[in-house]
Symmetry: C2
């Protein structure tokens, strides 16, 4: 691709009835068709999957995590390997989360100031001090295609005062990150915080848009707040985020949440649930969720999803996969992960197709019917 | 293949200096080139591997285990699935061990008589009574290509009296198994027992050969006895087992033990060690064993084995695989299992090639140099 297209977002089609849009985003490691679901590869591997399998599933971009990789194996190892792509044998695009969420959810003994966060590793208790500039150095050494700003991610519920403090700090850090960031082959995305407070969200959004990032993430959602509040925030941001930049809703990956997000102008999604639930035997099907450990499946020789054409559904039965789960076999995790990732990647592709074909509202309605009653 | 060739063994070449031979064995699910290594798939899956990967590795036959499958998922489930091949999605050959070894090593509260064995399941404590006829019914329902007779496998050391009793029972059960066995598309192999007592081994061998099985297994070795005693037994049996039938040394799969076995006329091998050790980070290389968890590999970006051309060695570094092991990632088990199975399958192919080319003694000498100092 021409150098001029790098990190540009092209709109291919827009839904006339919702905020959904189909587009393309150009990265150093290929073009990402959007909306897209990004499989999570926290520790330099999408759990249970090999890179060639992710390629076969049509994943164009996966996630890595700066916090985890910084602690293990260490940034020096990844840098000497030639970056994360070379280290893990993946030559399509990678997005790294900055570790803001992890520092605030996994690490202990945090001391937060405007300079950064002091914390203890969840692995060995060692002390670390992450600053916006250090996080930029880490993400640049990792060499992801899209790096996230270091942000302060709040829990839910939180007081407006607490949310305001975190939001102001997130804005300040975004400025410091932008200043410290120098890799031209890596896009730096800003992260809008503000919990469920619309005035904070709007303020944060404008502040970040003024800094002119090539893309914007929406953080601090899907942390326990009611769906209606999440939708309100998304609708607000859909008005104020620039149409010509991709929008990424962090940590959201329930099928319906993804499609509802797409309906509100979001382009990118990630979530550990499709892979984590898979390892526990919970799979996504066109009829809703299915727990493959259920006794009733003991002699059920149909595929996980009769409407699915993935490798797993073409080759294995519910009875076999149930047996693998009961026996604690690794292949159980592999097959269910494969299937669930296929489901999410395929749903994002179907949404894209529907937006282009003008049938997105039908898909949205269908997903509400199938997945509307489910909790995460 | 012509029906007349089914379960026939064809000698392709013989080593003039050792007992090694290269041959072919015809089964319902394809021709097995021998010598061969058989990956172990105890619970209807070769741990961490998918069927398409085993095919890519060139495995022509894998193992299943009647004892384990009988207890879970149950023979009725496998039968209703259309047999083990269909249940697990594997359309090459399968050999099932009868479960003799497992009843005597895993189960508790055994009561052994000439009629059979009463035992409690290692899974849920439920009581079962296995007889030679029942084991035949189980293996026929599973539908493996090669079924093993039900035998009494002794531990090491054991008194000559104890070994004699088990051997006589094994011979008696072999007769009962042969009588009960009726599937024409399944070969039934006899198992020679007798611990390290040569007179017992010779007696058992003659008794079984008189029954005219299409193949013979050698059981009760690699259970802790000195290598020299194992070799003595193999040399004895190489004299008395018919040249025109395949010989299978059960549970042997250390690289050197396999090649030493081939040198003494053995054609088939299986072992859980290449897969089990892989999950613990111990891999086989052309220079000997390597523990990938070692600190020194932290920044070692060379492949597991620089002389290996497998998928893992072409795509991933020691540093990456070490990281996956330290992080407890499933991909660690997958990659090391893939590599170790490639090593064993390839070593068997190399031995076959060397026998045909007349260079087998060089390969044997080389393996003694590389693996001679190692314990299992």
């Amino acid at each position: 691709m021409g150098r001029d297209k790098l990190f540009s977002y092209e709109i291919i089609a827009e839904c006339p009835h919702t905020g959904a849009r189909a587009g393309k985003f150009y990265t150093t490691h290929g073009v990402i068709e959007m909306p897209c679901f990004m499989p999570v590869g926290t520790q330099a591997t999408v759990k249970a999957m090999a890179p060639f399998e992710l390629e076969a599933l049509g994943a164009r971009i996966i996630l890595g995590n700066a916090y985890h990789l910084y602690l293990r194996p260490g940034v020096d190892v990844i840098e000497k390997a030639g970056g994360l792509h070379a280290f893990m044998g993946w030559d399509r695009a990678i997005l790294t989360d900055s570790g803001g969420f992890q520092v605030f959810s996994l690490a202990s003994l945090r001391r937060v100031s405007d300079e950064g966060v002091e914390f203890q590793s969840h692995l060995d208790g060692s002390k670390h001090f992450l600053t916006p500039a250090l996080v930029m150095a880490i993400e640049e050494a990792i060499g992801s295609d899209i790096a996230m700003c270091f942000d302060e991610c709040t829990t839910y519920p939180i007081t407006e005062e607490g949310a305001k403090e975190a939001t102001l700090r997130t804005i300040k850090w975004a400025g410091l990150c932008k200043k410290a960031h120098s890799r031209r082959d890596q896009a730096l995305f800003g992260i809008v915080q503000g919990s469920v407070f619309l005035s904070l969200r709007e303020y944060c959004c404008h502040a970040l848009v003024d800094m002119d990032f090539p893309g914007y993430a929406i953080g601090g959602l899907a942390v326990g707040e009611p769906k209606a509040l999440m939708h309100e925030v998304l609708e607000l941001l859909n008005k104020f985020l620039p149409k010509t930049k991709p929008r990424y809703l962090m940590g959201v990956g329930h099928p319906l949440d993804m499609v509802e997000g797409i309906a509100r102008g979001v382009d990118m999604f990630d979530c550990v649930l499709p892979t984590r639930n898979a390892r526990n035997g919970s799979v996504l099907t066109s009829m809703g969720k299915l727990n493959v450990r259920k006794k009733e499946l003991k002699e059920d020789f149909s595929p996980l999803d009769p409407n699915c054409s993935c490798y797993v559904c073409r080759n294995f039965s519910r009875a076999y996969i149930r047996h693998l789960h009961k026996a604690g076999e690794i292949l159980a995790s592999r097959l269910c992960t494969w299937h669930n990732l296929h489901f999410m990647l395929d749903l994002a592709r179907k949404a894209r197709r529907a937006i282009i074909d003008g049938t997105f509202p039908d898909l949205l309605e269908h997903c509400r019917e199938v997945f509307g009653d489910e909790a995460d």
